[in-house]
Amino acid sequence: MIVLDHVTKRYRAHGAGPGKLVLDDLSAVFEPGRTIGILGRRGAGKSTLIRLLSGAMHPDSGRIFRQGRVSFPVGTAGPFVTTMTGRENAWFVSRIYGADPAEVIRFVETHSGLRRDFDRPFSSYTGDKRGRFLFTIAYALPFDIYLADESVIGGPPGFRDWCERLVDARRRQATLIFTTRRPRLLRRFADDAAVLADSRLALFETVRDAIMAFKADEPGAEDEPQAEDEEVWDDDDPLP
Protein backbone atom coordinates (compact mmCIF):
# COMPACT_ATOMS: atom_id res chain seq x y z
CA MET A 1 0.00 0.00 0.00
CA ILE A 2 1.17 3.49 -0.84
CA VAL A 3 -0.56 6.60 0.45
CA LEU A 4 0.08 10.07 -0.95
CA ASP A 5 -0.84 12.80 1.49
CA HIS A 6 -1.02 16.28 -0.04
CA VAL A 7 2.10 15.82 -2.13
CA THR A 8 3.42 18.81 -4.04
CA LYS A 9 6.45 18.83 -6.28
CA ARG A 10 7.87 21.81 -8.09
CA TYR A 11 10.96 21.91 -10.27
CA ARG A 12 13.10 24.89 -9.63
CA ALA A 13 13.57 27.18 -12.59
CA HIS A 14 17.06 27.91 -13.83
CA GLY A 15 17.52 31.50 -12.81
CA ALA A 16 14.61 33.53 -11.56
CA GLY A 17 10.95 32.57 -11.59
CA PRO A 18 8.76 30.24 -9.59
CA GLY A 19 9.64 27.10 -11.60
CA LYS A 20 7.30 24.49 -12.96
CA LEU A 21 4.64 23.00 -10.75
CA VAL A 22 4.64 19.30 -11.57
CA LEU A 23 2.35 17.83 -8.94
CA ASP A 24 -0.09 20.00 -7.05
CA ASP A 25 -1.45 18.78 -3.73
CA LEU A 26 -1.88 15.15 -4.74
CA SER A 27 -3.64 12.79 -2.36
CA ALA A 28 -4.30 9.18 -3.24
CA VAL A 29 -4.40 5.69 -1.78
CA PHE A 30 -3.02 2.78 -3.79
CA GLU A 31 -4.58 -0.34 -2.33
CA PRO A 32 -2.53 -3.51 -1.95
CA GLY A 33 -2.98 -6.24 -4.54
CA ARG A 34 -4.34 -3.93 -7.23
CA THR A 35 -2.82 -2.90 -10.52
CA ILE A 36 -3.10 0.81 -11.05
CA GLY A 37 -2.52 2.33 -14.47
CA ILE A 38 -1.91 6.07 -14.61
CA LEU A 39 -2.39 7.81 -17.94
CA GLY A 40 -0.62 11.04 -18.69
CA ARG A 41 0.70 12.97 -21.63
CA ARG A 42 4.31 13.75 -22.26
CA GLY A 43 5.52 16.15 -19.59
CA ALA A 44 2.51 15.55 -17.34
CA GLY A 45 4.81 14.43 -14.51
CA LYS A 46 4.55 10.65 -14.91
CA SER A 47 8.23 9.98 -14.29
CA THR A 48 8.28 12.42 -11.39
CA LEU A 49 5.36 10.60 -9.81
CA ILE A 50 7.08 7.22 -10.17
CA ARG A 51 10.29 8.59 -8.71
CA LEU A 52 8.40 10.06 -5.76
CA LEU A 53 6.60 6.77 -5.18
CA SER A 54 9.87 4.84 -5.33
CA GLY A 55 11.51 7.18 -2.84
CA ALA A 56 14.24 8.33 -5.22
CA MET A 57 12.92 11.84 -4.90
CA HIS A 58 11.39 13.77 -2.02
CA PRO A 59 8.23 15.85 -2.31
CA ASP A 60 8.49 19.58 -1.64
CA SER A 61 5.63 19.27 0.78
CA GLY A 62 3.29 16.52 1.86
CA ARG A 63 4.14 12.96 2.81
CA ILE A 64 4.31 9.56 1.18
CA PHE A 65 3.67 6.44 3.24
CA ARG A 66 4.79 3.08 1.92
CA GLN A 67 4.10 -0.33 3.30
CA GLY A 68 5.95 -3.28 1.85
CA ARG A 69 9.03 -3.58 -0.30
CA VAL A 70 8.90 -1.08 -3.14
CA SER A 71 10.77 -1.85 -6.35
CA PHE A 72 13.03 0.36 -8.38
CA PRO A 73 11.27 1.32 -11.63
CA VAL A 74 11.00 -1.89 -13.65
CA GLY A 75 13.12 -2.06 -16.80
CA THR A 76 15.60 0.67 -15.87
CA ALA A 77 19.32 -0.02 -16.15
CA GLY A 78 20.28 2.47 -13.43
CA PRO A 79 20.69 0.01 -10.56
CA PHE A 80 23.18 -2.13 -12.46
CA VAL A 81 26.91 -1.69 -12.76
CA THR A 82 28.06 -1.87 -16.36
CA THR A 83 31.41 -3.47 -15.62
CA MET A 84 29.92 -6.36 -13.65
CA THR A 85 28.36 -9.41 -15.24
CA GLY A 86 24.64 -10.10 -15.23
CA ARG A 87 25.17 -12.76 -12.59
CA GLU A 88 27.10 -10.43 -10.29
CA ASN A 89 24.56 -7.67 -10.73
CA ALA A 90 21.77 -10.08 -9.90
CA TRP A 91 23.65 -11.22 -6.82
CA PHE A 92 24.19 -7.71 -5.46
CA VAL A 93 20.70 -6.43 -6.15
CA SER A 94 19.19 -9.50 -4.47
CA ARG A 95 21.41 -9.03 -1.46
CA ILE A 96 20.55 -5.36 -1.10
CA TYR A 97 16.83 -6.10 -1.19
CA GLY A 98 17.21 -9.03 1.19
CA ALA A 99 16.16 -11.68 -1.34
CA ASP A 100 17.85 -15.05 -1.64
CA PRO A 101 20.55 -14.46 -4.27
CA ALA A 102 20.76 -18.13 -5.28
CA GLU A 103 17.05 -18.27 -5.99
CA VAL A 104 17.01 -15.02 -7.96
CA ILE A 105 20.03 -16.06 -10.00
CA ARG A 106 18.46 -19.43 -10.77
CA PHE A 107 15.27 -17.72 -11.91
CA VAL A 108 17.06 -15.25 -14.16
CA GLU A 109 19.32 -17.96 -15.56
CA THR A 110 16.40 -20.22 -16.40
CA HIS A 111 14.01 -17.66 -17.80
CA SER A 112 15.95 -14.77 -19.31
CA GLY A 113 17.44 -16.92 -22.09
CA LEU A 114 20.75 -15.08 -21.75
CA ARG A 115 22.74 -18.32 -21.60
CA ARG A 116 26.48 -17.53 -21.71
CA ASP A 117 25.90 -13.78 -21.76
CA PHE A 118 24.78 -14.01 -18.15
CA ASP A 119 28.47 -14.23 -17.26
CA ARG A 120 29.53 -11.38 -19.52
CA PRO A 121 29.71 -7.71 -18.47
CA PHE A 122 26.41 -5.89 -18.49
CA SER A 123 27.87 -3.22 -20.80
CA SER A 124 28.31 -5.81 -23.57
CA TYR A 125 24.59 -6.63 -23.75
CA THR A 126 22.75 -5.68 -26.90
CA GLY A 127 19.32 -4.06 -26.74
CA ASP A 128 17.44 -7.36 -26.77
CA LYS A 129 19.66 -8.93 -24.13
CA ARG A 130 19.38 -5.86 -21.93
CA GLY A 131 15.61 -6.06 -22.13
CA ARG A 132 15.63 -9.75 -21.28
CA PHE A 133 17.90 -9.18 -18.31
CA LEU A 134 16.25 -6.02 -16.94
CA PHE A 135 12.70 -7.33 -16.99
CA THR A 136 13.52 -10.80 -15.70
CA ILE A 137 15.57 -9.49 -12.78
CA ALA A 138 12.97 -6.88 -11.81
CA TYR A 139 10.16 -9.42 -11.63
CA ALA A 140 12.44 -12.08 -10.12
CA LEU A 141 12.85 -9.97 -6.99
CA PRO A 142 10.04 -10.48 -4.48
CA PHE A 143 8.68 -6.96 -4.17
CA ASP A 144 5.31 -6.13 -2.67
CA ILE A 145 4.91 -3.13 -4.93
CA TYR A 146 6.26 -2.99 -8.46
CA LEU A 147 6.62 0.40 -10.10
CA ALA A 148 6.96 0.91 -13.84
CA ASP A 149 7.39 4.06 -15.84
CA GLU A 150 6.03 3.27 -19.31
CA SER A 151 7.88 -0.04 -19.52
CA VAL A 152 5.77 -2.71 -17.83
CA ILE A 153 7.07 -5.37 -20.16
CA GLY A 154 9.85 -5.36 -22.73
CA GLY A 155 12.50 -7.29 -24.56
CA PRO A 156 12.33 -9.03 -27.91
CA PRO A 157 8.92 -10.19 -29.25
CA GLY A 158 9.20 -13.86 -28.26
CA PHE A 159 10.28 -12.94 -24.75
CA ARG A 160 7.51 -10.40 -24.37
CA ASP A 161 4.73 -12.99 -24.28
CA TRP A 162 6.41 -14.80 -21.44
CA CYS A 163 7.07 -11.44 -19.73
CA GLU A 164 3.35 -10.65 -19.90
CA ARG A 165 2.47 -13.91 -18.22
CA LEU A 166 5.11 -13.20 -15.59
CA VAL A 167 3.56 -9.79 -14.89
CA ASP A 168 0.16 -11.43 -14.55
CA ALA A 169 1.59 -13.93 -12.09
CA ARG A 170 3.13 -11.13 -10.00
CA ARG A 171 -0.07 -9.08 -10.10
CA ARG A 172 -1.87 -11.86 -8.33
CA GLN A 173 0.16 -11.32 -5.16
CA ALA A 174 1.67 -7.88 -5.46
CA THR A 175 0.69 -4.33 -6.29
CA LEU A 176 1.71 -2.87 -9.62
CA ILE A 177 1.62 0.85 -10.29
CA PHE A 178 2.54 2.02 -13.75
CA THR A 179 2.36 5.23 -15.72
CA THR A 180 1.90 5.38 -19.46
CA ARG A 181 0.45 7.39 -22.28
CA ARG A 182 -0.87 4.31 -24.03
CA PRO A 183 -4.47 3.45 -23.21
CA ARG A 184 -3.80 0.00 -24.66
CA LEU A 185 -1.47 -0.84 -21.81
CA LEU A 186 -4.19 0.02 -19.32
CA ARG A 187 -6.72 -2.19 -21.06
CA ARG A 188 -4.33 -5.07 -20.88
CA PHE A 189 -3.14 -4.81 -17.26
CA ALA A 190 -4.92 -2.26 -15.09
CA ASP A 191 -7.57 -2.95 -12.46
CA ASP A 192 -7.85 0.69 -11.51
CA ALA A 193 -7.11 3.73 -13.59
CA ALA A 194 -6.21 7.35 -13.08
CA VAL A 195 -5.31 10.26 -15.29
CA LEU A 196 -2.49 12.63 -14.48
CA ALA A 197 -3.10 16.02 -16.08
CA ASP A 198 -2.60 19.65 -15.11
CA SER A 199 -0.54 18.63 -12.05
CA ARG A 200 -3.47 16.69 -10.62
CA LEU A 201 -4.36 13.04 -10.39
CA ALA A 202 -7.95 12.13 -11.23
CA LEU A 203 -9.12 8.66 -10.19
CA PHE A 204 -11.84 6.92 -12.19
CA GLU A 205 -14.37 4.24 -11.45
CA THR A 206 -13.38 2.08 -14.37
CA VAL A 207 -10.49 1.80 -16.79
CA ARG A 208 -12.86 2.64 -19.66
CA ASP A 209 -13.88 5.94 -18.03
CA ALA A 210 -10.29 6.91 -17.56
CA ILE A 211 -9.42 6.18 -21.16
CA MET A 212 -12.49 8.11 -22.37
CA ALA A 213 -11.57 11.10 -20.25
CA PHE A 214 -7.97 10.90 -21.40
CA LYS A 215 -8.95 10.80 -25.05
CA ALA A 216 -11.63 13.49 -24.71
CA ASP A 217 -8.96 15.78 -23.39
CA GLU A 218 -7.23 15.73 -26.75
CA PRO A 219 -8.88 13.82 -29.57
CA GLY A 220 -6.72 11.60 -31.68
CA ALA A 221 -3.95 11.65 -29.11
CA GLU A 222 -3.22 8.01 -29.58
CA ASP A 223 -2.27 8.54 -33.19
CA GLU A 224 0.39 11.09 -32.45
CA PRO A 225 3.77 10.06 -33.79
CA GLN A 226 5.86 8.65 -31.03
CA ALA A 227 9.36 8.50 -32.34
CA GLU A 228 11.14 8.82 -29.04
CA ASP A 229 10.27 5.62 -27.32
CA GLU A 230 11.48 3.00 -29.68
CA GLU A 231 13.43 1.62 -26.70
CA VAL A 232 10.92 -0.68 -25.15
CA TRP A 233 7.59 -0.18 -26.73
CA ASP A 234 6.39 -0.29 -30.26
CA ASP A 235 2.89 1.02 -30.66
CA ASP A 236 2.08 -1.21 -33.59
CA ASP A 237 2.90 -4.23 -31.58
CA PRO A 238 -0.44 -5.90 -30.92
CA LEU A 239 -1.31 -6.79 -27.39
CA PRO A 240 -3.59 -9.69 -26.78
Binding site: M1, A56, G78, T83, M84, E88, F92, R95, I96, G98
Partner: protein
Protein backbone atom coordinates in the same frame (compact mmCIF):
# COMPACT_ATOMS: atom_id res chain seq x y z
CA UNK B 1 -3.90 4.37 8.37
CA UNK B 2 -2.83 2.68 11.58
CA UNK B 3 -1.06 0.07 9.48
CA UNK B 4 1.21 2.73 8.08
CA UNK B 5 3.26 3.40 11.16
CA UNK B 6 7.00 3.78 10.83
CA UNK B 7 8.95 0.53 10.86
CA UNK B 8 10.46 -0.49 14.18
CA UNK B 9 13.94 0.78 14.90
CA UNK B 10 15.46 -2.70 15.02
CA UNK B 11 13.91 -3.63 11.67
CA UNK B 12 15.16 -0.43 10.07
CA UNK B 13 18.61 -1.02 11.52
CA UNK B 14 18.66 -4.56 10.13
CA UNK B 15 17.82 -3.26 6.66
CA UNK B 16 20.53 -0.63 6.89
CA UNK B 17 23.12 -3.15 8.03
CA UNK B 18 22.19 -5.47 5.17
CA UNK B 19 22.42 -2.66 2.63
CA UNK B 20 25.74 -1.38 3.95
CA UNK B 21 27.32 -4.85 3.96
CA UNK B 22 26.05 -5.50 0.41
CA UNK B 23 27.49 -2.19 -0.71
CA UNK B 24 30.83 -3.01 0.85
CA UNK B 25 30.98 -6.29 -1.06
CA UNK B 26 29.92 -4.52 -4.21
CA UNK B 27 32.56 -1.86 -3.74
CA UNK B 28 35.24 -4.51 -3.29
CA UNK B 29 34.07 -6.35 -6.39
CA UNK B 30 34.13 -3.17 -8.45
CA UNK B 31 37.67 -2.43 -7.28
CA UNK B 32 39.01 -5.85 -8.18
CA UNK B 33 37.12 -5.92 -11.43
CA UNK B 34 39.51 -3.68 -13.28
CA UNK B 35 42.68 -5.29 -12.08
CA UNK B 36 43.63 -7.14 -8.94
CA UNK B 37 47.10 -5.65 -9.07
CA UNK B 38 45.85 -2.07 -8.98
CA UNK B 39 43.68 -2.91 -5.98
CA UNK B 40 46.68 -4.39 -4.22
CA UNK B 41 48.75 -1.30 -4.98
CA UNK B 42 45.94 0.88 -3.71
CA UNK B 43 45.91 -1.13 -0.50
CA UNK B 44 49.64 -0.81 -0.12
CA UNK B 45 49.74 2.89 -0.92
CA UNK B 46 50.53 3.92 2.66
CA UNK B 47 53.39 1.43 2.72
CA UNK B 48 54.75 2.73 -0.58
CA UNK B 49 54.56 6.30 0.61
CA UNK B 50 56.24 5.33 3.84
CA UNK B 51 59.04 3.66 1.89
CA UNK B 52 59.54 6.81 -0.16
CA UNK B 53 59.72 8.97 2.93
CA UNK B 54 62.06 6.54 4.59
CA UNK B 55 64.36 6.60 1.57
CA UNK B 56 64.49 10.41 1.63
CA UNK B 57 65.07 10.60 5.37
CA UNK B 58 67.75 7.93 5.26
CA UNK B 59 69.47 9.74 2.42
CA UNK B 60 69.71 12.96 4.43
CA UNK B 61 70.85 10.95 7.44
CA UNK B 62 67.91 11.65 9.69
CA UNK B 63 67.62 9.81 13.01
CA UNK B 64 64.25 8.93 14.52
CA UNK B 65 63.08 11.47 17.10
CA UNK B 66 62.11 8.64 19.37
CA UNK B 67 63.05 4.96 19.55
CA UNK B 68 65.72 3.25 17.54
CA UNK B 69 63.97 2.47 14.27
CA UNK B 70 63.16 5.23 11.80
CA UNK B 71 60.86 2.80 10.02
CA UNK B 72 58.76 2.17 13.11
CA UNK B 73 58.73 5.82 14.17
CA UNK B 74 57.47 6.96 10.76
CA UNK B 75 55.10 3.99 10.49
CA UNK B 76 53.39 4.80 13.78
CA UNK B 77 52.92 8.34 12.52
CA UNK B 78 51.74 7.40 9.05
CA UNK B 79 49.06 4.89 9.96
CA UNK B 80 46.78 7.23 11.98
CA UNK B 81 47.42 10.05 9.51
CA UNK B 82 46.54 7.85 6.56
CA UNK B 83 43.51 6.48 8.34
CA UNK B 84 42.16 9.97 8.79
CA UNK B 85 43.02 11.33 5.34
CA UNK B 86 41.94 8.26 3.36
CA UNK B 87 38.63 7.69 5.05
CA UNK B 88 37.64 11.35 5.16
CA UNK B 89 38.38 12.01 1.50
CA UNK B 90 37.00 8.71 0.16
CA UNK B 91 33.82 9.13 2.19
CA UNK B 92 33.40 12.57 0.65
CA UNK B 93 33.47 11.02 -2.81
CA UNK B 94 30.81 8.49 -1.82
CA UNK B 95 28.34 11.14 -0.76
CA UNK B 96 28.86 13.06 -3.98
CA UNK B 97 28.47 10.17 -6.40
CA UNK B 98 24.80 9.61 -5.91
CA UNK B 99 23.76 7.82 -9.10
CA UNK B 100 23.25 4.51 -7.31
CA UNK B 101 21.18 6.12 -4.58
CA UNK B 102 19.03 7.74 -7.22
CA UNK B 103 18.49 4.49 -9.08
CA UNK B 104 18.04 2.16 -6.13
CA UNK B 105 15.79 4.12 -3.79
CA UNK B 106 16.43 1.70 -0.95
CA UNK B 107 20.04 2.82 -0.90
CA UNK B 108 20.46 6.17 0.79
CA UNK B 109 23.51 8.39 0.18
CA UNK B 110 24.51 7.87 3.79
CA UNK B 111 24.61 4.08 3.25
CA UNK B 112 27.07 4.57 0.42
CA UNK B 113 29.18 6.76 2.64
CA UNK B 114 29.16 4.32 5.56
CA UNK B 115 29.97 1.39 3.26
CA UNK B 116 32.93 3.23 1.78
CA UNK B 117 34.12 4.40 5.21
CA UNK B 118 33.88 0.93 6.81
CA UNK B 119 35.64 -0.65 3.87
CA UNK B 120 38.46 1.88 4.07
CA UNK B 121 38.74 1.35 7.82
CA UNK B 122 38.98 -2.39 7.30
CA UNK B 123 41.58 -1.99 4.58
CA UNK B 124 43.69 0.34 6.67
CA UNK B 125 43.51 -2.02 9.64
CA UNK B 126 44.86 -4.75 7.37
CA UNK B 127 47.54 -2.43 6.04
CA UNK B 128 48.56 -1.57 9.62
CA UNK B 129 48.82 -5.23 10.56
CA UNK B 130 50.85 -6.01 7.43
CA UNK B 131 53.12 -3.04 8.01
CA UNK B 132 53.90 -3.69 11.65
CA UNK B 133 54.14 -7.42 10.96
CA UNK B 134 56.72 -6.63 8.31
CA UNK B 135 58.70 -4.36 10.64
CA UNK B 136 58.58 -6.98 13.37
CA UNK B 137 59.41 -10.11 11.42
CA UNK B 138 61.49 -8.89 8.47
CA UNK B 139 63.31 -5.85 9.83
CA UNK B 140 63.36 -7.34 13.29
CA UNK B 141 62.28 -4.36 15.38
CA UNK B 142 60.87 -5.84 18.59
CA UNK B 143 58.99 -2.63 19.40
CA UNK B 144 56.73 -3.12 16.37
CA UNK B 145 54.54 -5.38 18.46
CA UNK B 146 52.37 -2.91 20.38
CA UNK B 147 53.18 -3.07 24.06
CA UNK B 148 49.80 -1.56 24.93
CA UNK B 149 47.59 -2.83 22.09
CA UNK B 150 44.46 -1.18 23.48
CA UNK B 151 46.05 2.24 23.10
CA UNK B 152 46.92 1.54 19.47
CA UNK B 153 43.48 0.15 18.69
CA UNK B 154 41.74 2.99 20.54
CA UNK B 155 43.74 5.61 18.66
CA UNK B 156 43.03 3.92 15.35
CA UNK B 157 39.30 3.73 16.10
CA UNK B 158 39.22 7.37 17.22
CA UNK B 159 40.98 8.46 14.03
CA UNK B 160 38.51 6.43 11.95
CA UNK B 161 35.55 7.86 13.88
CA UNK B 162 36.65 11.41 13.31
CA UNK B 163 37.42 10.64 9.66
CA UNK B 164 33.86 9.39 9.11
CA UNK B 165 32.44 12.53 10.71
CA UNK B 166 34.67 14.85 8.73
CA UNK B 167 33.89 12.76 5.63
CA UNK B 168 30.16 13.34 6.05
CA UNK B 169 30.65 17.09 6.51
CA UNK B 170 32.98 17.12 3.51
CA UNK B 171 30.46 15.23 1.41
CA UNK B 172 27.76 17.78 2.20
CA UNK B 173 30.03 20.70 1.36
CA UNK B 174 31.23 18.84 -1.73
CA UNK B 175 27.74 18.37 -3.07
CA UNK B 176 27.32 22.15 -3.15
CA UNK B 177 30.87 23.10 -4.19
CA UNK B 178 32.49 20.68 -6.58
CA UNK B 179 35.89 22.24 -6.00
CA UNK B 180 35.85 21.31 -2.35
CA UNK B 181 37.53 17.98 -3.13
CA UNK B 182 40.56 19.85 -4.48
CA UNK B 183 40.63 22.27 -1.56
CA UNK B 184 40.38 19.45 0.93
CA UNK B 185 43.03 17.45 -0.93
CA UNK B 186 45.52 20.30 -0.49
CA UNK B 187 44.53 20.67 3.14
CA UNK B 188 44.85 16.94 3.82
CA UNK B 189 48.32 16.81 2.31
CA UNK B 190 49.53 19.72 4.40
CA UNK B 191 48.24 17.85 7.45
CA UNK B 192 51.18 15.49 6.95
CA UNK B 193 53.46 18.22 8.29
CA UNK B 194 51.14 19.28 11.10
CA UNK B 195 50.34 15.85 12.51
CA UNK B 196 53.57 14.79 14.19
CA UNK B 197 54.19 12.10 11.60
CA UNK B 198 57.96 12.62 11.61
CA UNK B 199 58.60 14.50 14.84
CA UNK B 200 57.64 14.39 18.51
CA UNK B 201 55.47 17.38 19.50
CA UNK B 202 56.79 17.38 23.06
CA UNK B 203 60.26 18.12 21.71
CA UNK B 204 59.03 21.13 19.71
CA UNK B 205 59.44 24.74 20.93
CA UNK B 206 56.50 25.84 22.99
CA UNK B 207 55.25 28.56 20.63
CA UNK B 208 55.00 26.01 17.76
CA UNK B 209 53.54 23.30 19.98
CA UNK B 210 50.76 25.60 21.20
CA UNK B 211 49.55 25.91 17.64
CA UNK B 212 50.04 22.28 16.68
CA UNK B 213 47.88 20.91 19.49
CA UNK B 214 44.77 22.33 17.82
CA UNK B 215 45.14 19.68 15.12
CA UNK B 216 43.13 16.62 16.22
CA UNK B 217 45.06 14.26 13.92
CA UNK B 218 48.17 15.01 15.95
CA UNK B 219 46.45 13.62 19.03
CA UNK B 220 45.56 10.44 17.14
CA UNK B 221 49.25 10.00 16.24
CA UNK B 222 50.33 10.67 19.83
CA UNK B 223 47.82 8.23 21.24
CA UNK B 224 48.77 5.60 18.66
CA UNK B 225 52.45 5.91 19.58
CA UNK B 226 51.81 5.40 23.28
CA UNK B 227 50.60 1.96 22.24
CA UNK B 228 54.05 1.11 20.91
CA UNK B 229 56.49 3.04 23.09
CA UNK B 230 56.08 2.70 26.82
CA UNK B 231 58.05 5.85 27.58
CA UNK B 232 56.79 8.00 24.74
CA UNK B 233 56.54 11.62 25.92
CA UNK B 234 52.92 12.61 25.48
CA UNK B 235 52.31 15.65 27.61
CA UNK B 236 50.28 17.29 24.85
CA UNK B 237 48.04 14.25 24.30
CA UNK B 238 44.37 15.06 24.92
CA UNK B 239 42.16 12.08 24.12
CA UNK B 240 38.98 13.94 25.05
CA UNK B 241 39.79 16.61 22.48
CA UNK B 242 40.17 14.02 19.73
CA UNK B 243 36.99 12.17 20.69
CA UNK B 244 35.02 15.42 20.88
CA UNK B 245 36.12 16.15 17.35
CA UNK B 246 34.95 12.70 16.27
CA UNK B 247 31.57 12.85 17.94
CA UNK B 248 31.08 16.53 17.14
CA UNK B 249 31.81 16.10 13.46
CA UNK B 250 29.49 13.10 13.19
CA UNK B 251 26.67 15.06 14.83
CA UNK B 252 27.29 18.09 12.68
CA UNK B 253 27.49 15.93 9.54
CA UNK B 254 24.26 14.07 10.26
CA UNK B 255 22.43 17.29 11.12
CA UNK B 256 23.62 18.95 7.94
CA UNK B 257 22.70 15.88 5.90
CA UNK B 258 19.17 15.87 7.26
CA UNK B 259 18.66 19.63 7.10
CA UNK B 260 20.03 20.08 3.60
CA UNK B 261 18.78 16.80 2.08
CA UNK B 262 16.27 18.37 -0.25
CA UNK B 263 18.52 21.18 -1.37
CA UNK B 264 21.34 18.72 -1.86
CA UNK B 265 19.16 16.60 -4.17
CA UNK B 266 18.15 19.71 -6.08
CA UNK B 267 21.76 20.85 -6.40
CA UNK B 268 22.86 17.69 -8.20
Amino acid sequence: MTALTSPRFSAALAVQARVVVSLMLREMRMHTKHSRLSYLLELLEPILQLTMMLAVFSAIGRRPDFGTSLFLFLGTGMIPYFTFVHISSRAMGALRSTSLARNLPLVKPLDLLLARAFLETLQLAIVAIVLFGFIYFVIGVRDARPIQPLNAIGAFAAAALMAIGVGIVNGIIGSFFRLWAVVYGVFARSLLFLSAVFYVPDFMPKQIRDWLVWNPVLHAVEWFRTGFFLTYPSVVLDKAYLLSWGIGSIFLGLILERALRRRRVAAR
